[in-house]
Symmetry: C2
Subunit: 216 residues, 2 copies
Amino acid sequence: MSDQAFSDAERAAVYRAIAERRDMRHFSGGSVEPALLARLLEAAHHAPSVGLMQPWRFIRVTDRQLRARIRAHVELERIQTAEALGERSDHFMKLKVEGIEQCAEVLVAALMDDREKHIFGRRTLPEMDMASLSCAIQNLWLAARAEGLGMGWVSMFEPQALAEVLGMPVGAKPLAILCLGPVAEFYPQPMLVMEGWAQARPLSELVYENTWGVHP
Amino acid sequence: MSDQAFSDAERAAVYRAIAERRDMRHFSGGSVEPALLARLLEAAHHAPSVGLMQPWRFIRVTDRQLRARIRAHVELERIQTAEALGERSDHFMKLKVEGIEQCAEVLVAALMDDREKHIFGRRTLPEMDMASLSCAIQNLWLAARAEGLGMGWVSMFEPQALAEVLGMPVGAKPLAILCLGPVAEFYPQPMLVMEGWAQARPLSELVYENTWGVHP
């Protein structure tokens, strides 16, 4: 164990946030204090980014009509997804896939425009900007859990349509509609497991040694 | 503040991990105990994933010759990147961009094969699998920091070449070479800031309200 290790209590808190974070769809209204929202966004902003490009942009949606329009776009994609799912379509339509109307805050997380000039760490993997944005969202998620707030990541939307709704320039791209706010309770397990949609696989199946498919 | 909020000390620990995590390139050898490595991988495995697809696979590299080969692929891409950077090439070549030889453990994080059938939350944003993997890596990173271990994410490699080296099936894709292990000290700031490569932008420039470019 290194000298820089946290205390046992601190370590346990970090693991607790990681284990108890949930992708929430059920919210109980309320509000998020401005100072608290600022702390959460600062946590996101502490994320690593490839070549320090900091590709993340956050649009806070405070206009209720805009929020309703965003929700309608999600609803449109929900129906498209159901059709694409074929035989699982009925089950899918019963799932709650977003909490846009009920959550305290809606944030849209997006990639900035003008990303082509950032080559550092992206020459062969241009999608690293999206990886950086995702790390920022995970930071926000964990900080929110520690603050007792739920968050849900909604990715059911047509990115170009949402970009237009929010006045994004060419090259910018929304990756997440984040629903944030107080919740009555956190799901004890991932909601899709509780709803019988999917089963979680044990970690041991997903770890290899030296060669793909070879378990240690 | 919700009933589910962590204690003040727990919250502070989560924010500490987020603020003190660094993308490390300098390692001091040593080793990572198997139980500790297992805890870190479990933390990664607690990440959210779109439709619960759990697209992450981790290959632990224990063969020293394989590690050397991986490093050679990174070196190849480092030179290609320098050429692509043009006038910043000399400065770039002085930066330390990986710690593959010195770190205790090398893990390659990859996307699984056979991803096309996962439509939930990915119909219009197929790259959500990469977002899920990135969240898993961020979990691992934060847990490592709490344990006093450094981690670095190396994305300078040709993914197809690395996939072949590790025997990956068609459709699988490596996204990260993760260097993990004890460090003499954590950088007080991001290394690219300390080296004068890039300046960090303040969060306030990156937050909008309702419309792109409109600051609150």
